[in-house]
Symmetry: C2
Subunit: 370 residues, 2 copies
């Protein structure tokens, strides 16, 4: 049987929508022998991670921590804690992940108003204003970086609109976090979640989240129990932030070792430099891909630097070329999701995968194949 042989993976170059390449320091930290999840040394590690999550989210929010499960569970954490049956939510949808938020909000028993833009375009604040004439949402949710389309959604004006309407402003920052500007406090974001396997370049499996004081007040005013025990912040909080750390679940110790080191790398580089690096390599990739006949799906000004959604040149077969990239060059790029399946690629330049060399090997391989 296959499992009888030692793990023997190919050495991939990860240029899909995540996971991204992981720095050897992160892998080394992850391989540290374990300590207990209530060990005083582990509590210090949690404090370190919380402090670095606050710095990278650019927030002073006390309720900033890491959900012990992937980004989708971070999304669910935000929605199930902020919404109760009967609450209204306004969800902006311009790709897969906005749709997922609406699905989860409905599973919370919320009445959902959808504001939709064509996939590949940002949401226009005017659409939201118009929708707000028909509803009074407790939560207004939007995706900052739509991983399915490559759109970077401007947030500041929408944040003001949300607050003027008395709504909490919830943001999906799975792909943007640590790769492009994101200012939780300055932009008035009330709840935010991300993942670790994108521009943070840690292994997948954890979801950093942060809640403003206004969001915490909403949690405290709940009339019903949160429908998920595992994600119930009234319980999780006392593990992450209680004076005495109360056992809730067993934290993924090794993944937290890795996350701590990934955060250290981000802060050593500095956020501004990191964002500039992501922009620079995006520009390089853009020039090279356009010369090869690729077209960007998203109009200039709204393109994600870390996730490049491009239409394939005439005559290029999606599945065959992606398979050749993987088999012959060990390069992974992402396929299209949903309505874009077979039509676009999603090329990630995230975290450790955002380098000139990544661009060069991909472009050279494509020139070979074409």
């Amino acid at each position: 049987m296959a499992y009888q042989s030692e793990l023997n993976t190919s050495q991939r170059i990860l240029m899909g929508p995540g996971p991204s390449d992981v720095h050897p320091r992160v892998l080394k930290a992850m391989a540290t022998p374990l300590i207990g999840h209530l060990d005083p040394e582990f509590v210090e590690i949690m404090d370190d991670i919380k402090a670095m999550a606050q710095l990278t989210f650019q927030t002073k929010n006390h309720l900033t921590f890491v959900v012990s499960a992937p980004g989708s569970a971070g999304m669910e954490t935000c929605l199930v804690n902020l919404l109760e049956p009967g609450d209204e939510a306004l969800i902006c949808i311009h790709g897969v992940f906005g749709g997922r938020m609406a699905d989860i909000a409905e599973r919370c028993g919320a009445k959902v108003t959808r504001v939709e833009a064509p996939w590949g375009e940002p949401i226009d604040p005017k659409q939201i204003k118009a929708a707000l004439e028909q509803c009074q949402p407790k939560v207004l949710a939007i995706v900052h970086a739509e991983t399915s389309t490559g759109v970077l959604q401007p947030l500041e004006e929408i944040s003001r609109i949300a607050h003027d309407a008395g709504a909490l402003f919830l943001v999906d920052a799975v792909t943007s976090y640590c790769g492009t500007e994101l200012k939780v406090d300055e932009w008035g974001i009330d709840a935010i979640y991300s993942g670790t396997q994108k521009c943070l370049s840690a292994p997948p499996g954890l979801s950093p989240v942060s809640f403003s004081e206004r969001a915490v007040e909403a949690l405290e005013k709940r009339k019903t129990k949160v429908q998920s025990w595992f994600l119930d912040l009234s319980l999780v909080r006392s593990y992450w932030a209680g004076a005495k750390r109360a056992y809730h679940h067993t934290a993924p110790v090794s993944a937290m070792f890795a996350l701590r080191e990934a955060y250290r790398l981000v802060l050593e580089e500095g956020l501004e430099k990191r964002f500039a690096r992501h922009r620079r390599n995006h520009e390089l990739l853009k020039r090279e891909l356009e010369a090869l006949g690729f077209e960007f799906l998203v109009q200039a000004g709204y393109r994600l630097p870390m996730l490049n959604a491009v239409k394939l040149p005439e005559g290029v077969d999606d599945a065959i070329v992606r398979r050749r990239l993987l088999d012959e060059y060990n390069i992974e790029v992402g396929s299209g999701l949903g309505q874009f399946a077979g039509k676009i690629w999603r090329i990630g330049l995230m975290g450790e995968s955002s380098t000139q060399n990544h661009v060069h090997v991909l472009v050279s391989a494509l020139k070979d194949i074409f």
Copy 2:
């Protein structure tokens, strides 16, 4: 700031209720550079893990896989998928984890009947029979190895009672799995969840689960959506078992590398030998601890071999001695939970932590301290 320095943990000897010590081969596998979560090589790894989960659960259940979050999320996966609002559930409670199941079942909108035994004692099948005269549960749930009390709960008779009553039989095997006999098919278990950080000796963060054909039929007959999107098996299934693996969430790639290697170690040793090793080291610990004045909380015949719940000898201060064990000897043992806080210890001999040497260093340290 503390996070500016490199990760620098003490080399602990893990003898609490998990995580247990992890084999260097598992740490090494975990540090393998990442591949994508939809890479054909990763799909093979998922298949390997599924096959090894089936072997270790002793089941042919097709719906056997690993939840991308810790054991508590495995518990929630079983309950939110099998229960709908208005369903009845009979939950056996003889410690913290039975209580947690009841809490989650109520969050699913189920009508819960509790069958309780004093903490430290097993549930008597007669109690269940009596309770079944007053209710018609869809699910009858019980903890096989109560991590909070050290009780090993016999399951076979209760399984028959559950099936005679037309209920699905749901078992928490977080602590027993891979450390003592557990036969999912032979014992008629319909849904089961475990964790990776106990007798399997992988890092915490994943939860192996398995569902029988009867349980799958119940899933397919649901009238309402599962309240959790992240844990909804109608979605997760197509990622783990679909003909074409459909993206659901990003699997924790590194943790899966580690789990694959931990399973390989279990199967190389063989289940029977592994169970015998756990019993043997439990017997050794028992003799040594009783000589030091400790008393077992649980009557003989119902004691977990991998988690020894013992009352402290007269005059021994729980917190002080545990702290000295940790600070001076690098040994972690577990404190009491709930009503046993301050009164008992929970000494784990799980997986890689079930060795003579573990017993010897702990006993020698205690002799030093006493």
